[in-house]
């Protein structure tokens, strides 16, 4: 669906200085996939997204969407896009902005009102619809941005920092919205600093740093790449028995212990041993998600 072939973007100033924002980036994103993009500030995420929207052209290499140059694809089909920078004319009203975007999105005139009302309802911005953009809070503006991206049933959605500025309730709801957007044939790209969010929403996460693709991480469990990890085990009773069975366990206090396993199978075996030995296990969570671990390794190695 989306293909980057050795894409490189070099910015050149008038005085001959050049900055390589994206370098030799190759990646294929399949139809129906949700791809996360993670990276530290200045890693090249925004440039990468601008390349996918055709707002920038690669200095070398190619970017294709369904075999077309991005601009050609966008002009034919449109893309559901949420920009990290909420650059909407501050003098427009929220409702007016959505009607304008719906018009540009080629929604039939008879359906514009209904579609706008539907996204306003979905994003809970009904009470702000008559406010000017400049009068909206950061969170409401972000919800408006999400709303305009949802106006049309797009095949490609690119969401740049979608939960930035949202409160926890709306962050949670947004995750539900993205889950609802998943469908065969639709490709969703989410760029975010929030690794937990990407872990939950994305099928794969591209970790980029200094313009390069550092790692491509599968977020679900993959037996082939299972390398275990450190887990935090909370227990209700039986702390002494746990210590006796696993002397290497690190006591974090309040009935929590950290244990490192070489695989998921080892973790399960240990849990079975604990439960069999009369330890009442209250919870098991990874100390660090696989993604977080990979991110630290990929970005930490560079910085």
């Amino acid at each position: 669906m989306i293909e980057l072939q050795n894409a490189t973007k070099v910015y050149r100033s008038l005085f001959g200085r050049s900055v390589t924002a994206v370098e030799d980036f190759s990646l294929q994103v399949a139809e129906g996939e949700v791809l996360g993009i993670a990276g530290p500030n200045g890693a090249g995420k925004s440039t990468l997204i601008s390349l996918m929207l055709g707002y920038l052209r690669p200095t070398h290499g190619r970017v294709l969407i369904r075999g077309l140059e991005p601009r050609t694809f966008v002009e034919k089909n449109g893309i559901g896009y949420l920009s990290e920078l909420m650059t909407i004319n501050p003098n427009w009203k929220a409702d007016e902005a959505l009607v304008r975007f719906a018009t540009l999105a080629a929604i039939p005139p008879a359906d514009v009102r209904g579609r706008v009302d539907a996204v306003i309802e979905e994003l809970g911005i009904g009470e702000h619809r008559d406010k000017k953009i400049k009068a909206l809070s950061k969170g409401n503006l972000q919800r408006l941005g999400v709303a305009q991206a949802l106006l049309r049933d797009e095949e490609v959605m690119i969401l740049d920092e979608p939960t930035h500025g949202l409160d926890p309730v709306w962050t949670q709801r947004f995750r539900g919205i993205v889950e609802g957007l998943r469908r065969p044939g639709r490709t969703i790209i989410i760029a975010s600093h929030n690794l937990d969010e990407l872990q939950r929403l994305a099928d794969r996460v591209a970790i980029i740093d200094r313009g390069r693709l550092q790692r491509l991480v599968q977020t679900g469990y993959d037996q082939a790449t299972d390398a275990g990890g450190t887990y935090r085990i909370s227990i209700a009773t039986g702390a002494d028995r746990l210590k006796a069975m696993f002397p290497q366990a690190v006591d974090s206090g309040d009935g929590e212990f950290e244990l490192t396993f070489s695989s998921i199978a080892d973790l399960n075996a240990a849990l079975a041993q604990l439960i069999g030995g009369g330890v009442l296990v209250a919870g098991v969570v990874p100390s660090r998600s696989v993604l977080e671990q990979q991110f630290r390794e990929a970005v930490g190695e560079q910085n």
Binding site: S50, Y55, V74, E75, L104
Partner: protein, 238 residues
Amino acid sequence: MAANLTRYSYWQFRDFIRERGLALIITSTLLGFTVVAPMRAMLGSNIDEVNAKRILMMALPQLVYISAFIALNGLISTDRKLGYYRFLFSKPVSIPAYYAQYFLVSLIGFLAVFAFLLGVFAFVVRPVSPFGALAWCGLVYLSFGGIAFFISSLFRYDWPILAGVYLGSALVNGLWADRGGFRMVIRDMLPPVHKLSAAMNDIMNLGTVDTNSVLWLLGYSALCFAAGLFVLWRRPIG
């Protein structure tokens, strides 16, 4: 042109009136007042048609050039500078078509503003036929427009460049009007805006135009407009 973009022209027209039209009316009314008020004081309230036309021809150049500048600067560059393009052009819209349409919508808005101002003139001084004046306003807009469009497609801070090009052109044409050699080449390469004053006299007094001058003005502008469209088509907007 795609139907969605055609329908969006309503919003572009609203934008023009809200963001530029009101400014044009205020600026032009104030500027026009400085010309009309002394003449009215001198000639009294019973002004005949000949004098009314003369006042209008004195006032119009003062207003139309600056108004065309206000109407045309930032046509494309404002969206680039402020990042508005990000949301607009993620929709199924051709960027050159969007701005070509905005250029035409702005022309209609510009003429609507001057139709309104001619109405004010008719109320304050005396009614005169608006057709010649509107035709000349349209000619000024179109002559400036293509060049403004091209500059705005290239530069984020287009208005100082636009001002420089026009002032430079006016100066060079004034200073080197009869010179030959390289001066003539430079003079001929700059926008032929000096031909607009003569065109106003022709249109408003004789009801005709010097075809060569008008073709040169519009041809020069059309070439620039086409160059602007080419830039928008080939050069990424981000």
